[in-house]
């Protein structure tokens, strides 16, 4: 199948998720689409598969302009998609899941299971799959569930199969099987779109590779006219410039100390965490989202429990205490998800700004709030951080994304806490606000605060941090001084050019699962 996407754009609110992306998918090819999380890969595929119909631009299948209104239109045109999160009904059998939505009719809508079984046995034989059609999906392993998803597309005679991050959940042996199957599909004349952020897999298996970043298509080249280095440069983006400089300061005493911290519910099995952040220092943790950064941050701020180990803030052991005690000990937190964790969207700016200070004498007289003081405080913050808002009594939800983030940062930094945890502080924020946020964080550093910066944006890490660590599969690398490491080295650590040690590690973790 020849699929053409022409000038596709998608807006989510004020965020431009896809920006005039044009892409050609040729038959008999494995076409890899790579990019960071949030680069727009999945959004582009949901447009091609008819799940997202709020786009501008055109889709051509075999030179015919198509206009999907539901996924069934795309399915009829021969497109199949294996979603990252499997779309299966766990209480149904393999057979029932495969035929759901394309049921073979016997009479009056009753199902012809024999027909479906015969067709599936043929497919199983052709592609050398082995699976028990009568087993309940809830009992299957992750790899088998993926096979069910692939069989769903084959049963519908898909000529173009989209696989969204198919290897993220597989064991090495299952990965090898998957890529063998993909080669078989390719040889049978199907087109394959492989969405991934693992460059190794792309280099080894793809015929063509397209790179996406921030909603734009950066490049689309045959695999033999590009290189691993070029792809990883294009993924992380090499040419953002910022007029922000980090002055040389000698770091002070240790403010945040993690020793042998074993966090509950990490996404992968890694080692315990050891980390120090000193005064006048920014320590960056780089990594692709989903490698355990969010869980580590939750453990530090007190949203998540730890199995063992210590968290110390300014020398006080806070491992067992609740969030407000931790904040009193000198901790503040700039969350990644400002809608959910950072702000009460239906409350006023002044309420949001003062929320962690309501118990203080300055803002409360007995049980009553000092409204004027709160208002003045909020107006000062708004002025100082240049938050664009109509008034201090406007609702938080009325602010734009960048201004919401500025308000949170203004609130947290105004606490003058010794330890600042900043989690993707500039995610989804426009360039002007990014510069300002970076400036504020650096001036906090100069004023003796200790900052832990968790970010999937390498530029941000390299601009701000004194030291960098990389988080991969719930494990922190040793720390590098920022001057002594290159973007490429970090990029490869983040995207994991699989070294022997890591391979072994992964095997162990899968056995444990």
């Amino acid at each position: 199948m020849l699929a053409k996407l022409h000038d596709i754009s998608v807006n989510f609110g004020e965020v431009r998720a896809l920006d005039n992306v044009s892409l050609d998918i040729s038959p008999n090819q494995i076409h890899a689409i790579v990019g960071e999380n949030g680069a727009g890969k999945s959004t582009l595929m949901s447009v091609l598969f008819g799940l997202n119909v709020n786009y501008s631009g055109q889709i051509f299948i075999d030179e015919i302009n198509k206009n999907w209104s539901t996924p069934s239109d795309a399915i009829k045109a021969g497109i199949g998609m294996v979603h990252q999160h499997f779309m299966l009904i766990e209480s149904m059998t393999v057979l029932e899941n495969i035929i759901l939505g394309s049921e073979p009719n016997k009479y009056l809508g009753f199902l012809d299971f024999q027909f479906a079984k015969k067709k599936l046995y043929d497919l199983l034989r052709t592609y050398n799959f082995s699976i028990n059609l009568n087993q309940t999906v809830g009992e299957l392993s992750v790899g088998q569930r993926q096979m069910v998803e692939i069989l769903k597309t084959l049963y519908r005679s898909a000529a173009l199969i989209i696989l969204d991050e198919p290897t993220a959940v597989l064991t090495p042996a299952e990965r090898a099987d998957l890529f063998n199957s993909l080669q078989d599909f390719k040889n049978a004349g199907k087109s394959i779109i492989l969405i991934t952020h693992k460059i190794d897999e792309v280099m080894a298996n793809a015929d063509h590779v397209s790179v996406m970043r921030s909603g734009q298509l950066i490049s689309s080249l045959p695999i033999n006219s590009t290189s691993r280095g070029q792809i990883s440069d294009e993924i992380v983006g090499a040419s953002k410039t910022k007029s922000i400089s980090r002055k040389k300061i000698k770091p002070g005493p240790v403010k945040l100390h993690l020793s042998d911290l074993d966090v509950l519910g990490m996404p992968q099995i890694g080692n315990a965490f050891n980390l120090e952040v000193k005064a006048n220092e920014i320590v960056g943790i780089a990594g692709v989202a989903g490698n355990g950064q969010a869980e580590l941050v939750e453990a530090i701020i007190g949203l998540r429990s730890s199995k063992s180990g210590l968290i110390e803030i300014c020398g006080t052991n806070v491992t067992e205490v609740d969030i407000s005690t931790r904040r009193d000990a000198g901790l503040c937190y700039i969350p990644e998800d400002r809608q959910k964790r950072g702000l009460a969207l239906d409350a006023q700016l002044s309420e949001n700004a003062s929320i962690s200070l309501l118990a203080s004498k300055a803002f409360a007289k007995g049980p009553f709030l000092r409204k004027t003081k709160i208002k003045n405080f909020t107006e000062d913050l708004i002025k100082k951080f240049d938050v664009k808002a109509s008034s201090s009594s406007a609702l938080a939800n009325s602010l734009s994304g960048g201004n919401k983030q500025k308000l949170i940062i203004a609130r947290e930094l105004s606490l003058e806490s010794d330890v600042i945890i900043a989690e993707n502080p500039t995610w989804g924020v426009d360039l002007g606000a990014i510069n300002q946020i970076h400036y504020e964080l650096l001036s906090m550093r100069e004023n003796g605060h200790a900052i832990l910066l968790v970010s999937s944006d390498l530029d941000e890490i390299l601009t701000l941090s004194d030291r960098v660590l990389v988080m991969f599969e719930s494990e922190l690398s040793h720390s590098f001084r920022t001057e002594k490491v290159t973007r490429e080295e970090l990029g490869e650590l983040m995207l994991m050019k699989a070294s022997e040690k890591k391979k072994r590690k992964r095997q162990i973790s899968h056995e444990a699962i």
Binding site: F49, T70, G101, E103, L264, G265, D337
Partner: protein, 308 residues
Amino acid sequence: MLADLFDPAFADSVARIAVPILLASLGGAICHRAGVFNIALEGFILMGAFAAVLGTFMLGHVFWGVLSAILAGVFMGLLFAEFHLRRPGDAIVVSIALNLIGLGLTTYLLRAVLGVSGVFQDEALGKIIEINIPLIESLPVLGSFLSGQSILFYISIFLVFILHYIYSRHKLGFWMRAAGENPLALKTVGIKPAPVKLLALVLCGICCGLAGAQLSISNVSLFVENMSAGRGWIAVVIVLVTNGRPIPLLGLVLLFGFVDSLSLRLQGFGFPQQFTEMMPYIASLIALIFVSIRRIKDLVGMRGYDNG
């Protein structure tokens, strides 16, 4: 003593008590399996019961009564769909509203249309046809359970098995199960979940309408304000306990019918009424305890501030 307790009249009363609850539970089960949290069964039944009496009285035959009951149930189902599927109303809020509407509207119409308050009774009201099965009717005890019941008794038992069959063999059954368990999965294979849920609500309306008809023009021939008297809630409990699976549901309904009849019968033996009337509710409580034990979740790591 036991022979006095479990006589043919007792067997007959188990069936009569069970039928409305069975029909309402089937309706509830259809919604539950399709992912619609419908706890407005009480209001659905009440509307059905009133429409059955009104239709029979106005049009002169119980057939029209049954048809009116079905239409009233479907109307409630469509109301639910309008507020919960087409508009983003919360299912619990919509359910509470429809339960109140069911009670309020029937009480009002009783006065406005039939001109009485409290109870409406008329000689013109008949009863749904009852079927005697030769041979079976002469079986001891069981005969009066299986024979001589209203046609709705046989229809509802039939519905249990047809529903079971549809869930495993028919594409609508597949879609309804998928809509309840993983609507996004259904959407990605090209079936929109909302129409499937609408269908479930309409079928639920039909079942609950019939349940109401059984109450008002079969078990008795009259309408009393709030005559559903908690049966819709018992049905909700039964649906949740059995997870909407038709065959276990039938078993549990019969158990409730049995306990309820027993409580009536024990009154006759001089047990205090306050005690015997508690029995069906104690049985529901025990059933609920079993459900909650099954649903205790194991939260690992998170301290409960946030489940994202």
